[in-house]
Amino acid sequence: MSKLFLMFFGGRKNPVWVGYVFITVALIILPFLVEASMGRTWVRILDFALIYAMLALGLNIVVGFAGLLDLGYIAFYAVGAYTWALLASPQFGLHLPFWAIIPIGFVVAGIFGVLLGAPTLRLRGDYLAIVTLGFGEIVRIFLNNLDHPINITNGPVGINLIDPIQIAGVSLTKSHEILGLEFSGAHSYYYVLLFLLLATVFVCIRLENSRLGRAWVAIREDETAAQAMGINTRNVKLLAFAMGASFGGIAGGMFASFQGFVSPESFILLESIMVLCMVVLGGMGNIWGVILGTFLLAILPEVLRDVSGPIQENVLGRVWLDPESLRMVLFGLALILVMLLRPSGLWPKR
């Protein structure tokens, strides 16, 4: 066993690709392992974790790389989700294919990123946080009220019957049997989301190790010094807003098509804070840390929900604390502990 382990991870003689093959196979069979051991709901939870990871990586560009504390980031998720919802649902009778909507969502969210970023360029720190928080709320309030005078968003009711991704006329939300294995909608989406997440990671890594990535970090470290080094901080910051928003937009689109339904309720301030927690908990600025933080915050609360009831029944005789509120208490406690013990996150940059 230890020999096998060494072969994969430790052996210096083995080429790196052995590790990659191992990871690839693991990622491919993961949803089946999860379904077999924990049931299909968990494949859905896994899918949502992937969506959140994309979202968190986008926010990481803004907060982690460029150091711009954005508390309204969920607005771009909302823009992406509604872009998809409006372009592929009975709302306007439009049914664009996914390969058209993904780039449209990317661009529309990016434009929103620039529009909402531009007025905040002179603000730093707390002031930036407050203004972006306001912008995030404004977007949600618009979505909530754009059902009159002309009905665009359907208001608080939201938009239903959103098209799922269809490949060659086959809907990904239906179950399919391939090679004797049953692929539910959650399984099929897993692969699409995994692909998009890997693409996001790829782009983030490339950006981080580039002239622009360095400019972002320079602005985060000292904006005045960055200007004095000839960085056009206005443009470079806008670019961070745009790139971050674009990834948020793609994540939002996937969320809409996966759920088949969107409403303004999904884009409240608490969601912005949740995504920020994922970034901060994992380790701002470190791509792998952010992914770790996302999976912890997306999955652990669900685990807790599953186990806290039965444990209380077994140990205490009955359920004293409602699992839902216990979940939030423990969640808060965990965050406080992490911030006390590892202030730069679980997996910091350096």
């Binding site: 490339r206 580039s210 002239r211 360095r214 000292d222 200007q227 004095a228 080094m229 000839g230 350096r350």
Partner: protein, 257 residues
């Protein structure tokens, strides 16, 4: 005078509310010289740097570099035009390594954008190589080889000052403005700094130097100007400055060594 004027500062005035930090400053800096700017605390030296580099707007006056007016341009365009600076209170990018700090300095002379960064096509890779090579050679130039892989914030004080100079040089300036580069340095570091400044001048870069270490200034500078309460009270060669009664009075009646 054989040397050509590279930077012309004319009638620069700056007020902060009621405080006149600079009044009607005229300075002509010649290409290839080390121009010293001295004066007691609060004389307005750093304020002048902040105006030249676009951080503050002057109340009055103008500033030209090689006959191009740069007054009121944003800082990044001034750097592009060829004026770089260091800071009195060191402002490095703390979590970045020494090498990365210098690479940031190359930003203004390079231009790969988002697409190039993501696709990493041949041009982008070549540019990135050029940036690395230039940064390494500048690290070498200021003598920081041993510690260039460390986070900038962990470097010694003297090393941080030299790293700031390397970072400013990476912008390929015509004029480099150094705000008290010897502050906090021990005698060995100061003499290394002196050698470095001579080398920079030999390489054709004009130096504008604020410094309290009078010995260093007098030994190094070709021209020295003295500010006191925002007014230029003297300008000339080091020996002229040393014997100027106004200057001696400004330094609290003390002797200028």
């Amino acid at each position: 005078m054989k040397k050509k004027i590279i930077a012309e500062i004319s009638d620069i005035t700056k007020t902060f509310g009621g405080l006149v930090a600079l009044s009607n400053i005229d300075l002509n800096i010649k290409g290839g010289e080390i121009f010293g700017l001295i004066g007691p605390n609060g004389a307005g030296k750093t304020t002048l740097f902040n105006i030249l580099t676009g951080m503050y707007r002057p109340t009055k006056g103008f500033f030209k570099l090689e006959d191009v007016e740069l007054t009121r341009l944003p800082p990044h365009l001034i750097v592009k035009a060829g004026l770089a600076r260091t800071f009195q209170n060191i402002r490095l990018f703390g979590t970045m390594t020494g090498l990365e700090n210098v690479m940031v300095g190359c930003h203004v002379r390079t231009n790969i954008g988002v697409v190039g960064a993501i696709l990493r096509h041949k041009g982008a890779r070549q540019e990135e190589e050029r940036i690395k090579d230039r940064a390494r050679s500048l690290i070498d130039y200021v003598g920081l080889n041993a510690s260039s892989a460390q986070a900038a914030s962990t470097l010694s004080y003297g090393d941080q000052r030299r790293l700031e100079i390397a970072r400013a040089l990476a912008t390929s300036p015509k004029v480099i403005a150094l705000d008290e580069p010897a502050a906090g340095m021990n005698p060995t570091e100061t003499s290394q700094l002196r050698e470095l400044l001579v080398k920079i001048r030999e390489d054709g870069i004009t130096i504008l130097l604020i410094e309290h270490d009078v010995k260093l200034v007098m030994g190094l500078c070709d021209t020295v100007a003295v500010l006191d309460y925002g007014i230029k009270i003297a300008e000339g060669t080091p020996s002229e400055i040393k014997s100027n009664p106004e200057v001696i009075r400004a330094y609290l009646g003390g002797d200028v060594p």
